[in-house]
């Protein structure tokens, strides 16, 4: 287990390193990074000072080493906005985004998984067909279309819910609904197929043969086993919810990291973009490694099968 964790950790570190390398080289090939990062109106002294501070007068390999060193010590460069550290600018937006994603994830799982379980138990019933149909639609419908339609319905036509900002609990409803509808359907689909696999297993027959009633057999034996493959889906889901948050925050003017990212891309506030990209990378890598370890812990049979993932 220890060597497994170590190997995964190395791989995760490699991914983050590759990502940092990617941002380094793309940034360096896109023009003079000093001018880009400091801004055109900064004046030659500021550019020169920046160049020296970031070691841009050094050869490329040395710059790369310095860059990695800076990242490791938590220096992600300066944002144009108020000339503050980029990390600080991102960090103050983070709570809003984490709240949005957290609430959305809870709602998504609370709707999606029970729906999938029920669909599997009543295979080919109307609820099963509905779950499958909605999940296909959910995968096809982009967040921004759902968001715009929800604004139109609940914000404009019915005038029930606020459509911009994040001040009250009411403000959560539309953004969360926007992100949760599609993803709950996706979870329902995965939960359904995982349940169908488990329901056909011999141990389920044993459970009913020894006289366990259906309800208890499902709750005690089927659901926990079906939950194992769902753990891997969660890794994909974290990626989806990050992208979903970027778009949804923009639709609803939610003042989080997603809005900041789009704003920073527009204004080419590259230090901030770089910080967010690395933050997302680290999040994904930590998620994946956690899932790999959890999966192995939950299902020891997969010890060797999944190492290549």
């Amino acid at each position: 287990m220890l060597s497994f964790v170590l190997r995964k950790g190395l791989r995760a570190g490699l991914t983050v390193l590759l990502l940092a390398t990617f941002t380094f080289f793309v940034l360096r090939t896109s023009g003079d990074p000093a001018v880009l990062l400091v801004g055109l109106e900064a004046g030659p002294e500021a550019v020169e000072a920046f160049r020296r501070r970031w070691g841009l007068d050094q050869p490329l390999w040395k710059q790369y080493a310095i860059y990695l060193q800076q990242l490791l010590s938590g220096d992600f460069g300066q944002s144009f906005v108020g000339n503050r550290p980029a990390l600080e600018v991102v960090a103050e937006r983070l709570p809003k985004t984490l709240w949005l994603m957290g609430v959305t994830a809870v709602v998504t799982l609370a709707i999606g998984i029970p729906l999938g379980v029920v669909a599997a138990l009543r295979r080919d019933s109307w609820i099963d067909r509905l779950a499958i149909g909605v999940s296909v639609a959910g995968l096809s419908l982009p967040n921004f279309v759902v968001g715009v339609l929800l604004i139109l319905l609940f914000g404009v036509a019915l005038m029930l819910l606020p459509t911009t900002g994040s001040e009250t609990a009411w403000h959560f409803i539309l953004p969360v609904a926007t992100m949760a509808t599609g993803d709950a359907a996706v979870f329902a689909r995965f939960a359904r197929s995982a349940m169908l696999d488990v329901l056909n297993q011999p141990f389920m027959r044993t459970a009913s043969a020894k006289g366990l009633d259906r309800r208890r057999a499902v709750m005690r034996h089927a659901v926990p086993n079906a939950a194992i493959p769902l753990v891997t889906v969660f890794g994909l889901y974290v990626g989806r919810i990050i992208v979903g948050a970027v778009i949804t925050e923009n639709v609803f003017a939610w003042p989080g990291v997603g809005s900041l990212l789009v704003l920073s891309v527009e204004t080419r506030d590259l230090a901030v973009v770089q910080t967010i990209v690395i933050l997302v990378g680290v999040t994904m890598v930590v998620t994946n490694i956690t899932i790999d370890i959890a999966y192995r812990w939950l299902d020891p049979r997969t010890a060797e099968e999944r190492t290549l993932g």
Partner: protein, 294 residues
């Protein structure tokens, strides 16, 4: 007699397709064909040029509403441009960009997959590491970063669309090419002295083409979503060009007064990606025996 003799003609294929498909798959196919026709004949179908302004008819509603007229069946936007015409030209551009992106992605991914299978060793290690790296990160974020770093123009944007999804092609092709190399026909060709390029391009490629095509049908709607999402945020297709995504993006400022600007392209996006998903799922079930019964 004609039926058995013409089993492989396109007409017979179409007939078999029609008989074995469900109504939703048929509707999807019809919708996609309609969209392709709209894209191909946009100049003939569109009543107006997509930049033509009708300043006396700004924010005109669609024909079925009060004050609507047949001159602008889906209404007009804030500077009097015909929404129907703009939707038509947007369909053309969005489909064109997605098609380019899908073809480029398939070409890049397939080549990389072949390279890994041909040279093995450190090349293969490099490719698998790159595949793992790419699939560990949401592409949308990388696309945003690339557009921020390199700036946005049409060529860069199409290149980003092309890179999208390469890792899935590479993974599939690498695996299948590894398997194909060990099969009799590849071994025979090698013994006969055929060059590796010839074996891969002329013999292995046709044998694994169906898997690549299935992946293309799955990748295409995702590329449409990526393009429209980026364009919606104002970071994709730039005006004066028009895509379905940036129509929704501009239209959302008028949701209170002129909802039709955003809703028409939104509905087209939804139906088109839905049709592709249904068709892609169906194709995958038919051509890929490993996913039966899901």
């Amino acid at each position: 007699m004609a039926d058995t003799a013409s089993i492989s003609t396109p007409a017979a294929f179409a007939r078999r397709f029609w008989r074995s498909s469900s109504p939703s798959v048929r509707l999807s196919l019809l919708w996609i064909l309609a969209m392709v026709a709209v894209a191909a004949f946009a100049d003939l179908i569109a009543p107006f040029d997509y930049t033509a302004m009708d300043l006396r008819n700004r924010l005109a509603p669609p024909v079925w509403m009060e004050r609507g007229s047949w001159v602008h069946p889906l209404g007009t936007d804030d500077i009097g441009r015909d929404v129907l015409s703009r939707v038509i030209y947007s369909i053309r551009l969005s489909l064109f960009v997605a098609l380019l992106g899908t073809v480029i992605g398939a070409a890049i991914g397939t080549s990389i997959g072949f390279l890994a299978a041909r040279f093995r060793g450190w090349v293969d290690d490099l490719v698998t590491t790159a595949i793992d790296f790419q699939s560990a990160l949401p592409f949308f974020i990388l696309a945003l970063a690339t557009l921020a770093f390199l700036g946005n123009n049409f060529v860069i944007f199409v290149a980003v669309m092309g890179v999208y999804g390469w890792e899935r092609y590479a993974r599939i092709v690498r695996g299948m090419a590894f398997a194909a190399q060990a099969q009799g026909y590849a071994v025979a060709l090698r013994t006969l002295g055929a060059s590796p390029a010839r074996i891969y391009a002329a013999h292995i490629l046709p044998n694994i083409a169906s898997a690549i095509i299935v992946n293309m049908t799955l990748n295409f709607p995702e590329t449409v979503l990526l393009e429209t999402s980026l364009s919606f945020l104002g970071l994709g297709i730039q005006p004066p060009m028009t895509s379905l995504g940036n129509m929704v993006g501009f239209g959302r400022d008028y949701l209170l007064t002129a909802w039709w600007i955003a809703v028409s392209p939104a509905v087209v996006i939804f139906l088109t990606t839905l049709a592709f998903s249904l068709l892609g799922d169906w194709l995958r079930d038919r051509l890929d025996p490993t996913v039966k019964g899901r």
